[in-house]
Symmetry: C2
Subunit: 126 residues, 2 copies
């Protein structure tokens, strides 16, 4: 059964997996037929393209932290977070994001949608 | 044309209208055929039901404030805010919400989705 506690845990495990650079742990939270729309408005990715997306995005390491409470409704969780992503040339990209997780009845993420744009991105030297 | 600046302005005007208790000003931001799903997972409202919904929700007055930056993508804005809603018997209901505005090409809100649940609500005496 899909409970608020379960949805909160999935968000916590998602951010912990990103912080640990553990992409298989990220993938384990997704349903097999999951869709990832990141950022919102782009063509949703599925299957291996999701793993490749995470691997590319976080290959240099990242810190991701909640910046407010997880909003948990009947079948979805929405949460604000800040990601600091290590890139090439000692640069760190800081992105303020809101992710939406829509869950299937088994408690896996069926669809993820990430809200951010150029105004939410800053780059600094590490 | 739908610009990030316009979307930011609509969010600012939306919160200002709620703080002012000006429900016609809220409605002016919506497209005629807009859908409001508040909270997410409930049947979307349209037309007069939207005005009635806002009128009921905020009849006793409310304060609404951003609690983080507005995330602005190509056609949508997502923002975290806290609403303090005056209710009966001197009680104030405090709700942490994430709203998503999806815009039409004219810059009106075509769909609003509000993310929150019981875990995001507290009640205190005024």
């Amino acid at each position: 059964m899909l409970t608020p506690e379960h949805m909160q845990q999935i968000v916590d495990r998602y951010l912990a997996a990103i912080n640990a650079g553990d992409m298989p742990a990220v993938m384990a939270l997704y349903a097999e037929d999951a869709l990832v729309e990141d950022p919102v408005g782009t063509e949703p990715k599925r299957g291996d393209a999701i793993l490749q997306f995470y691997t590319n995005a976080f290959s240099g390491g990242a810190k991701a932290e909640l910046t407010g409470p997880v909003r948990i409704s009947a079948k979805a969780a929405a949460f604000p977070f800040r990601a600091e992503i290590n890139g090439a040339a000692s640069q760190v990209t800081i992105v303020d994001v809101i992710d939406i997780f829509e869950f299937n009845p088994d408690g896996k993420i069926a669809r993820m949608t990430a809200h951010f744009g150029p105004a939410n991105i800053t780059v600094r030297n590490a």
